[in-house]
Amino acid sequence: MAMDSEKFLETFKRIEAQISRVIVGHDDAIRKVLIAFFAGGHVLLEGVPGLGKTLLVKAFSTTIGMSFKRIQFTPDLMPSDIVGTEVLTEESGQREFRFKKGPIFAHVVLADEINRATPKTQSAVLEAMEEKQVTVFGESHSLESPFMVMATQNPIELEGTYPLPEAQLDRFFFKLLITPPTPVELREILKRTTGAESSEATPVLRENGAAEINEMNTLLRQVLIAPPIEDYVVRLVYATQPSAHNGAAAPASVKNYLRFGSSPRGAQSVILGAKGNALADGRVHVSYEDVENVIYPSLRHRIILNFQAEAENVTADQIIAEVIRQVPRS
């Protein structure tokens, strides 16, 4: 049975509901995680400790019923600890090097506190994230499909952290900000975690869930998007370029506070995210609202603030909001 939009929506809602059984609040984050997953992207979760980032990833992996690995990034973590290495093995009297797969070989990989590892180790996941393969001793090893890296990072720990390089940041489909819960949400969290009963997420997808997810990914890419909306996305992304040749189109805040604008991956992310958002809304076409809904997580880690912005506490989201205000829809 071919995947259609209704089935997609049903599956999406079921996964969302299962995750929500474990995670209180963060509905938007859950939705965006699922969109990124069905779009074949990776997610960077940023938030202070204790907000449920790791729990969210675990619940998600449980719900989709896919293989899940967790990598705790530390300063002494080596690349081989992630991708794996050749080890000498002896089997039936013969010694040979065999590739021992690292934790990257899973459908869902949690890169916890990714900014605590050295850049060398961080870069070990670059190839995996983009090409869905790793190369060890000159030999490439394909990763399982679907493959998704969900990284978390703590924004307030500056001591002993290594900010992710722009190249790696660009590989994340979405950057989601995990915000503290509201009082109502906190009360619900306390009820769920301090009581006798504990709620667990149950898998939604069947055993051949990988195939189903791939179908969903294909369907998501077929969502209709009108050329004017594509133009709008192009203009939005182009407006984040503070370079001289684009000076006329860029808003003043972009010129003043940005060092670099979004890469084409940003535009791809916006379009695919908008399509996923449309499907998650039960529509088969993208609207302007979808674009504006996903543009923040798509671009906030792709636009590089300059020193003045950091000095004035100007955030990427503020600049994106300004860009949306400045760029007309038609």
């Binding site: 077929q222 209709l224 009108a226 004017p228 909306i229 529509r283 088969v284 609207s287 302007y288 038609s330």
Partner: protein, 462 residues
């Protein structure tokens, strides 16, 4: 089956979008037409106004009208074309009104060949379901653009200003002749009971002034007389409106006087200007020319004659011939008595005059002699022409001097002449005869004459 298909086509979202495009196009056309219509109407109004006033010829009016029409049409086309709504904008409008979340936009702009067919079909179905929310007539009624009101107001204002200001400008550029204005004023005055007579009089004057055969001098005199009357009435009349009319009439009459004077001056300029003409032989004429410098003085004294003060309290130096004769006959004038200084009681009036004349030869020798000297020789009866003898009047064999005033002082001289006339009339000539006695012989080696002390200062300066 066919009917169902037609029905589905009629209800298709694409048709709705095209229908809206057509309607919005009509709206845009109306907007542009209504913006340009008032200026065009104003232009046509102005042209017709000019045409009816006969300020432009029919050909010019026709050409200008056609040009305005062509320019207006071009302007409408130029303005209309960018305002034609696109399918995209129409679809966006429908999306906004129907809350369709860009379904119509996607349907209208996305090529169906490049889209997933099942998704596209579903989108059409969804859009058709939302179509019921839209009634084009209800949702998109035509509203008059506010630019139309601005255009209308500006056009009406321009047309009104045109109608108000153009006649004013025209009258400034091409003022009516003075006699026409005088006639109009006369008509206005005739309608007022207090000025009725004056109005009739002015009408008669205007009629006379329009006669081409009437000489300019006569016209000037008539205007002067009427001017006097009006000036006198202005002093009497207290009503503001009447006074205004009278003052306008006075101004117009003054203008007429000036015009007549100008014409006369032109004539004088053509004839050689002021000077003294004499019928004496060349020798005498030479003397007359020498006295030409005093011609101006003579004029000044003629003006002085007009001054009442001079006439009453001071010596009337340039008095008429009759007055001179009277004085010469021995009649003592009170004014002469007043002028006679107490330190010289026995001094004869004639002596005094003679002395003064001698001291002031540059004022005009001929005039001084004429007023002071008694011709010697034969008795007076024999000295004059008898009726039918030669000249009709005058002194036998006497030369005469005619002073022709320079053009710039001619009106003053004439004005002075009015006062001298007992009937209030004066010969309309700039040639004022000052003397009919022969000019004294010219003496080339005669001692230079002294400047005579002005009469006013005689009692003060010694």
């Amino acid at each position: 089956m066919e009917a169902v298909r037609n029905n589905s086509e009629r209800d298709s979202p694409e048709l709705l979008i095209r229908g809206l495009v057509r309607k919005l196009s009509h709206h845009a056309l109306w907007d542009v037409v209504l913006v340009f219509l008032p200026p065009l109407a104003a232009i046509f109004y102005c042209l017709s106004y000019l045409f009816l006033k006969a300020w432009i010829s029919p050909l010019v009016a026709l050409v200008a009208g056609i040009a305005a029409l062509v320019i207006g049409t071009l302007a409408i086309i130029i303005r209309y074309r960018p305002k034609i709504p696109s399918i995209r904008s129409a679809a966006s409008l429908i999306d906004d009104r129907a809350g369709a979340k860009d379904r119509f936009l996607t349907l209208a702009t996305l090529p169906s060949s490049k889209a997933n067919s099942s998704m596209f079909s579903r989108l059409r179905v969804e859009a058709a379901g939302l179509q019921s929310r839209i009634a084009i007539r209800r949702e998109f009624p035509y509203r008059i653009n506010r630019h139309m009101y601005v255009s209308l107001v500006v056009s009406v204002a321009v047309a009104l200003l045109f109608q108000i200001l153009l006649p004013l400008a025209h009258s400034k550029l091409r003022p009516q002749p003075a006699h026409v204005r005088l006639r109009e004023l006369a008509e206005q005055m005739a309608m007022r009971p207090r000025l009725h007579e004056t109005g009739l009089s002015l009408q008669a004057l205007a009629a006379k002034l329009e006669e081409p055969k009437l000489p300019r001098q006569e016209k000037q005199i008539l205007a002067q007389e009427e001017h006097k009357k009006i000036a006198a009435q202005m002093k009497k009349d207290t009503q503001k409106q009447d006074r205004e009319l009278l003052s306008q009439a006075a101004g117009t009459l003054q203008e007429l006087e000036q015009q007549s004077g100008d014409g006369e001056r032109k004539k004088d300029q053509d004839g050689g200007g002021g000077g003294i003409q004499s019928n004496l032989p060349q020798k005498g004429k030479q003397q007359g020319n020498e006295g030409g410098g005093g011609g101006g003085e003579s004029k000044g004294e003629l003006n002085a004659q007009l001054n009442d003060d001079m006439q009453q309290g001071k010596l009337a130096q340039g008095n008429t011939k009759e007055q001179d004769r009277e004085n010469n006959a021995g009649g003592k004038n009170s004014s002469q008595e007043n002028q006679r200084e107490p330190s010289k009681p026995g001094k004869d009036k004639n002596q005094e005059r003679t002395g003064r004349s001698e001291g002031g030869k540059d004022e005009g020798v001929g005039r001084s002699k004429a007023s002071d000297e008694i011709p010697e020789g034969s008795p007076p009866v024999e000295r004059f022409y008898k009726p039918g003898e030669g000249e009709s009047q005058g002194i036998k064999g006497a030369g005469y001097v005619t002073v022709q005033l320079p053009e710039e002082l001619a009106p003053e001289g004439k004005g002075g002449g009015n006062k001298r006339d007992s009937k209030g009339r004066k010969a309309p000539s700039s040639q004022v005869s000052v003397s009919n006695v022969p000019l004294p012989k010219h003496l080339p080696d005669a001692p230079s004459e002294k400047q005579q002390m002005p009469l006013e200062y005689r009692g003060i300066i010694r």
